[in-house]
């Protein structure tokens, strides 16, 4: 997965590059609009060089909108995530109209960016939707809406099922609380409560209590991850 970041703020650019590289992606960084546009239009081995563009709106020279227009005019179809410091409805609408796929308002949590990047990269990879999701001995049947752990039926509420489905679909990824609240309950704002923690704790009690290994992990300060901890990093999994 190759990603191009176009960001003029030096620290932001460096940290984004470092973070995404550590998350296992190949990242290039352009410091201004012209370089960015030039790089974004590269073709390698007969296909677009980059799978995703992360674009800052406020750029010297050519601004983010113009880069986006240029990229689309050149026939590039990779997804574009834009970053903006101004949370104005008009800005969002403009970005989406120009062909951006998602946006994040600064300041944002890196884990949020990572989740969105992964989601955008997965998009378009049309695979046959599985009807049963599995990890370790946990099984989730999406059609009959049943959950089994080690062959035993687990009783879940509708929201718990949705939450578990989300964690399973994106297993191995750290999902930030805001993303969980938005995907499971359609709450697109920070309610300043530990509602998600409570919900995850309850789900964990049903899914992990009395079973080994523990699948749902809390990544402190970031969010939650569902993963079969084959060689799990010791510090990532913590008790609630």
């Amino acid at each position: 997965m190759k990603i191009l970041i176009i960001e003029d703020e030096p620290k932001t650019g460096d940290y984004l590059k470092q973070g995404l590289t550590e998350a296992g992606m190949v990242v290039d960084l352009a410091r201004d609009g012209w370089d960015g546009l030039h790089l974004a239009c590269n073709i390698e081995a007969g296909k677009q060089a980059y799978d995703l563009l992360i674009l800052d709106v406020m750029l010297p020279g050519l601004d983010g909108w113009q880069v986006l227009e240029g990229v689309r005019r050149a026939g590039m179809s990779m997804p574009v995530l834009f970053l903006t410091a101004r949370d104005q409805v008009a800005d969002r609408v403009k970005g989406l109209e120009l062909g951006a796929d998602d946006y994040l308002v600064k300041p944002f949590a890196f884990i949020e960016l990572l989740a969105r990047v992964r989601s955008l990269l997965r998009r378009g990879k049309s695979s046959i939707e599985p009807t049963v999701l599995k990890v370790a001995d946990l099984e989730l049947d999406l059609l009959s809406r049943r959950a089994l752990r080690a062959g035993k039926r687990i009783d879940l509420t509708a929201k718990e099922f949705t939450l578990l489905e989300l964690l399973l679909r994106r297993q191995g990824e750290v999902l930030p609380r805001t993303l969980i609240a938005s995907q499971v309950w359609d709450m697109n704002f920070d309610s300043d409560t530990n509602v998600v923690e409570v919900a995850v704790r309850r789900l964990r009690a049903k899914v992990d209590d009395g079973f080994e290994p523990k699948l749902i992990q809390t990544v402190r300060g970031m969010g939650y991850r569902l993963e079969a901890p084959a060689p799990a990093p010791v510090s990532a999994a913590q008790p609630p």
Binding site: M187, F189, T193, E197, G221
Partner: protein, 475 residues
């Protein structure tokens, strides 16, 4: 010249002058009519006197010889009456007698008296024409003319004097009016001078309402009310700025101290990684809180500047409430609190139009607030109602009463009922971190509720008595 920009003094002076002119012209017209009528009356009286004299002389002549002597008698009688001319026409229209050279516009008399007024090249006349039948003489027509030029001269002089007087009076009234207006408007100038003295730093001052005329009193009252509102806004703005500074200072100073301590300590060995990690987690929490606060502040600032677009979507409050219950249920249950919805809306109550996401956020903030302030084992009630085309939604929780002095300011940014909680969140957070990261909202939740509701053209109220606090939104 634009009349609206004319000074009040000039305007009033002009109005005074115009009034004086109108009154004097009216009066002049009445006097002129009276004088004219008086002249006519006088002339007729004199003419009628002469007419009866001529009639008598003619009628009393017993025979033709006596009749022949009448002209001489007439001449005598008219001595000293230069402005009066008597002419007697015979039946055939010829002049039988005349005392002057004035031409009459008519020679033949009818059965009744005919009053005439006419003028030739030099003079104006008034006259009468009357018929006379004597026993032994042919029909006579008596015509008497009076020269009234001197009246005309008098009237011309009178009019000229009147015009002069009017002009003079107008000027005088304008001048006096100007002086009077200036004197009369002195209180207004005094008020303006006092208003000029009030500066941003002295918004607490008020104009004295008792020492001004009644007309200005309402103006002064309105001005004072405006000052009060300004003072209030200024005060809030000042508090707001210092609140922001304070809210940011605490986390930043924490971060700095923490970082400096860590740099000084130079941990080593096994524990080092864990120690540093701990510090980073702690910093992250501060950063997240600051980021959230900034986002909330920007949202409120947008709302204050009227930049929130509320959209025209239909929002079903009851399904929104249920969605929120769904979200908060587990959290409330852990705290031993029940959430309940009561829908008291009329069957055909109009739906609410607006932005679903924003309204959901407002409701969510109210619910979080209510759940936080409810003791274990109690119920938070959400009630929907409608009346006269208005929709209302209230969130009610049992809990200690909020003192009345706090109620109007609950929706202010950063306002907290308990001031001791205000500046001391760090310790509290450490205590409650594992339980609930959020018993320390930034104090912006209710301000956001108000911004959203106001942007939707609604209003917010809060009532707190008898162990029950109720927040109500009316749209």
């Amino acid at each position: 010249m634009n009349l609206n920009s004319l000074s009040l003094t000039a305007r009033l002076s002009l109005l005074f002058a115009a009034s004086a002119v109108i009154v004097l012209l009216g009066l002049g017209w009445v006097v002129e009519r009276a004088v004219q009528n008086h002249f006519i009356e006088m002339d007729r009286h004199e003419i009628e006197g002469k007419l009866s004299l001529v009639r008598n002389l003619l009628a009393s002549a017993p025979n033709a010889a006596a009749l022949a002597a009448v002209p001489a008698q007439l001449e005598n009688a008219l001595v000293g009456h230069q402005h009066l001319q008597v002419t007697v026409f015979a039946a055939d229209g010829t002049v039988w007698f005349t005392s002057g050279r004035v031409q009459f516009p008519q020679q033949r008399a009818g059965d009744t008296l005919q009053w005439l007024a006419w003028s030739d090249a030099r003079q104006a006349y008034r006259g009468v024409l009357a018929g006379l039948k004597t026993a032994h003489a042919p029909l006579f027509s008596i015509a008497i003319a009076q020269d009234i030029s001197h009246h005309e001269v008098f009237m011309r002089d009178f009019r000229r004097t009147l015009a002069m007087l009017t002009t003079l009076a107008a000027l005088l009234t304008a001048g006096l009016g100007w002086a009077a207006t200036r004197a009369g408007l002195r209180p207004l100038r005094r008020v303006a001078a006092m208003a000029t003295q009030i500066e941003a730093s002295r918004l607490g001052e008020r104009l004295p309402g008792s020492q001004v005329p009644a007309e200005i009193e309402t103006l002064v009252a309105a001005f004072n009310a405006m000052l009060a509102r300004l003072e209030d806004s200024f005060r809030r703005l000042n508090e707001f700025s210092s609140d922001i500074a304070h809210e940011l200072r605490t986390p930043i100073s924490n971060l700095m101290t923490q970082t400096q301590v860590a740099l000084n300590a130079a941990y080593e060995g096994e524990v080092a990684g864990e120690k540093y990690r701990e510090i980073l987690y702690s910093s992250l929490e501060e950063y997240e809180r600051m980021a959230q606060m900034i986002a909330d502040m920007l949202f409120i600032a947008q709302a204050d500047n009227g930049l929130l677009q509320t959209g025209q979507g239909e929002v079903d409050l009851s399904s929104e409430t249920r969605a929120l219950f769904d979200y908060f249920d587990a959290w409330a249950e852990e705290r031993g609190i029940t959430l309940a919805l009561e829908d008291l809306r009329e069957p055909h109550a109009p739906p609410l139009t607006g932005d679903r996401l924003m309204l959901r956020r407002a409701l969510s903030n109210l619910l979080v607030n209510a759940i936080r302030h409810t003791a274990q084992g109690n119920t938070v009630w959400v009630r929907l109602a409608s009346a006269q085309g208005n929709l209302s939604i209230s969130v009610e929780n049992p809990g200690p009463d909020i003192a009345a002095e706090h109620l109007p300011r609950l929706f202010d940014r950063f306002y907290r009922v308990d001031p001791s909680r205000q500046r001391d969140r760090t310790q509290q957070r450490d205590r409650t971190k594992q339980l609930d990261k959020a018993s320390e909202g930034a104090g912006l939740g209710l301000a956001i509720v108000k911004s959203i509701v106001v942007a939707h053209g609604g209003s917010v109220q809060v009532i707190s008595n008898a162990g029950c606090t109720r927040f109500q939104l009316v749209f």
